[in-house]
Amino acid sequence: MRTLLVAAALSLGAAAGPGVQAADKVKIGFVSTLSGPSAALGIDIRDAFQLAVKMNGGKLGGLPAEVLVGDDQFKPEVGRQLAEKYVKLDKVDFLTGFVFSNIMLASVPVAFENKTIYVSPNAAPSPLAGKQCNPYFFVASWPNDAYHEAAGQHATNKGYKSVYLIAPNYQAGKDSLAGFKRFYKGSIANEVYTQLGQLDYSAELAQARAAKPDALYIFLPGGMGINFIKQFVAAGLSKDIQLITPGFSSDQDIIRPVGDALLGTIDTAHWALDLDNATNRKFVAAFEKEYQRLPSLFAAQGYDTALLIDAAVRGAKGKVENVETVRKALRDAKFESSHGPFKLNRNQYPIQNYYLRVVARDSQGRLVNKTLGTIFKDHGDAYVQDCPMK
C-alpha cells in the first residue's frame, strides 16, 4: 500500500543518512536570501564567501571546507527550517549567511540551543548586542545601528536643520532610526515606518515632499531601496532634498539597477572599494576577476566572515568539534580584514572605523562609492554595557 511504501521509504532513507561527524573537515551551513528582489545581497555574500574558500585552496583554517548553501526566499519560516536541517541533520560546525534580521532572529535560536556557532555576515540587531547577547553569536560585519549612527553624526556635522526618516517596520528598521537619532542633534521632520517588502512609495514620497526637510535619511535594504530611490528621483525630489543613506543602500547592488539617479548620494559605511590595505586590494581584484562585477559591501562582509572562520579554525588548531575552543579562537581572532585589523568587542560585535562616502564616477567612468573622510574611529556599539558576557 502507498502509505506503507512512503513510510518505509522515509525510514530507509533516514537510516541511510549522513554518518557520524568526523573532524577532518569543517562544515558550514549557509542560508541566505538568494531569490526575490533582494537576492543580490545574499548572492554577493555567498559569492565572496565561496571565493575566500577557493582562494584558500578549498580550505578554512587548514581543514577542507564543505559549504552547504540554502535559500530562505526572504521567508522566516523557510530560513528557520533550513537552519534546523543544517544544525540538527547535517550537524554543521558553523551556521552563517542570513541577510535580514527578521529571518535571522527566527532561525538562529535553533543553532543556539544546539550549541552551534552562528557567524553573522550581515544582520547584527541591537538586542543580541546588549541584554540578549549570546555566546554562540558572532558578528563579522557591523552592529545594525553603526551606519545609522555615523549618518546621524554626519547630519549633525553638516548642520542640517530638519531630517525626514523612513525605515521598514521591523527590528532592524527600528534600530536604524534609533541609531540615527542617537547622534543627530537637529530636529526630526517625521519618522515613517513602511511595510517590510513594500515596493510602492508614492504615499510616503508625497508626504516627504509636503514636509520640506533639508535631508531625507532612509534605511531600505535590497529591492525596497531600489524602488524607493527610483521613485524618489522620478518624483523630482532629488533636486530639493539631500538623500542620505546607509552604505548598503547606495552600494553596487543598488547602483546596478538604479544607475545615474544615484549620483551625489551621501552614505556611510565601514568599508569602501578604495580602502587602501593589502587584503582589500587582493579581494577586490579577485572578486572582479571571478565574477565580472564590482563587489558591494555585502561581498566584503562575506569575505571577512570566511576570513574570521578561517582564523578561528586555525586558532582552534582544527578541533572544530570542541565548541568552546572554537568560541575562544573566534573571540581572540586576529587577522587583516578587508577594512583593516579585525577586532571584536566583549559582546562579540566588531569595533572598527566608519567612513563618509559619496556616489561618484571612478577613473574608468563606473559608478562607485568614494571615501570622503572618517566619521568614527574604533567605534563599538551602544548596547555592550548591557551584555553580561565578559
Binding site: 531569490s35 517596520n169 510602492d200 508626504q207 509636503a210 523630482g236
Partner: protein, 305 residues
C-alpha cells in the same frame, strides 16, 4: 496637510484603482459569462510582466516591448483556455477553484524555470522624471502615463461592450447564458475571445506596473485577491461595477496608507501609527466585501438579469 499632498495622494489612489480595474475587468467577464472562478488570473498578470521584461530587453524599446507583450499574453491565455480551462466550465466551483489553484503553482514554477525568480523591467528614461501639473504640484511622469492608459482602456472597454456587436454578445452571455446559447451564439469562440481579452488586460497592468513594483514570481497572488474583492463589490459580470469597485478600493487603500498614519501619528508612537493605517485599510476593504456579500451578494451593479 496641504492641497498638494491631498492632490498627490488622490492621484496615487486613482493610479492604483485604474490598474486594479484592468485586472478586475477581465476577471469579472470570465466569471460573469463563463461562470468560472479563475484563480490563475493573477498568473496571467505575472506572465504579462515577465514577457514584457524580456521583450523590452530584446527590442530595446519600452513601448515596443509592452505593446508586443499584450498580444503575446493574450495568445497564451487563449491557449490555456482552449486546452485546460475549457474542461472546467461544466465542473462545479470547487473543482474550478482547485484546478486553477493548481495552475497558479504550475505557472509560478514554469516562470521560475524560464526566467528565474525575478526579471528587471525599467522605466523608460524619458518618463523617469516628474511633471509639473499645476504650479506647485509635481507628479511622476510615469504614473501619469499609467493613469492615462488606464482611462483610455476603460473608455475602450466601455465602447467595446456597449457599442459593438461583440460587446452585445458578451453582455447577453453575462446576463443569461442559456438564452444566449439558445439564440445561436457561438459560445465556444466567444469564451475564448473573452478570455483572451482578459489576459491582454492583465498584460497591460503587469507590464505597466512592472517598473514600479517588482517583476517577481508570485506577484499575481496578492493582487488577485484584491481583484476578487473588487468584482464582488462591483457585481460579477459588470464592467461598471468593476470600475467603481476598483476606484473604491483604490480610495480606501490610499486613505489607509496616506492619511490614517498622519491621523494616528498624533497619539500613537511612529511604529504603531505606521502599521495601523495600512492594516485598517486592508481590514476595511475585506469588511466592505463581507458586508456586500451578506446584504447584497449580487454586488452594486448586478449584471445578471
Amino acid at each position: 496637510m496641504s492641497w498638494v499632498l491631498i492632490a498627490e495622494q488622490s492621484l496615487n489612489g486613482l493610479q492604483f484603482g485604474l490598474m486594479l480595474f484592468l485586472l478586475a475587468a477581465g476577471l469579472t467577464l470570465v466569471f460573469g459569462i463563463m461562470d468560472m472562478i479563475n484563480l490563475a488570473h493573477g498568473s496571467l498578470y505575472m506572465l504579462g510582466a515577465f514577457i514584457a521584461a524580456s521583450l523590452v530587453q530584446v527590442t530595446g524599446s519600452f513601448a515596443a516591448g509592452v505593446l508586443l507583450a499584450v498580444p503575446a499574453t493574450a495568445l497564451l491565455g487563449m491557449i490555456l483556455e482552449v486546452s485546460i480551462l475549457r474542461t472546467l466550465y461544466a465542473r462545479d466551483h470547487l473543482s474550478q477553484v482547485l484546478a486553477t489553484f493548481a495552475l497558479i503553482l504550475i505557472l509560478n514554477e514554469a516562470v521560475r524555470l524560464v526566467w528565474g525568480s525575478d526579471a528587471a523591467l525599467a522605466m523608460p528614461q524619458a518618463l523617469s522624471g516628474p511633471v509639473e501639473l499645476v504650479p506647485g504640484l509635481m507628479y511622476p511622469a510615469y504614473r501619469l502615463l499609467i493613469i492615462a492608459v488606464g482611462l483610455a482602456v476603460a473608455v475602450f472597454l466601455f465602447l467595446l461592450i456597449n457599442k459593438t456587436r461583440i460587446g452585445m454578445l458578451v453582455r447577453a452571455g453575462a446576463s443569461n447564458r442559456e438564452m444566449a446559447l439558445a439564440m445561436g451564439v457561438n459560445i465556444q469562440a466567444l469564451f475564448t475571445l473573452v478570455f483572451g481579452v482578459g489576459a491582454a488586460l492583465c498584460a497591460v497592468a503587469g507590464a505597466l506596473l512592472g517598473p514600479l513594483l517588482a517583476v517577481q514570481v508570485g506577484m499575481g497572488e496578492n493582487i488577485l485577491i484584491l481583484a476578487f474583492v473588487v468584482i464582488v463589490i462591483g457585481g460579477i459580470g459588470s464592467m461598471r461595477g468593476a470600475l467603481l469597485g476598483a476606484l473604491l478600493v483604490g480610495i480606501v487603500d490610499t486613505i489607509g496608507r496616506a492619511f490614517l498614519p498622519i491621523a494616528f501619528g498624533a497619539f500613537l508612537p511612529p511604529q504603531f501609527a505606521s502599521a495601523a493605517g495600512p492594516a485598517i485599510a486592508s481590514v476595511a476593504i475585506y469588511l466592505l466585501m463581507a458586508l456586500i456579500l451578506f446584504f447584497r451578494p449580487q454586488g452594486l451593479f448586478p449584471a445578471r438579469g
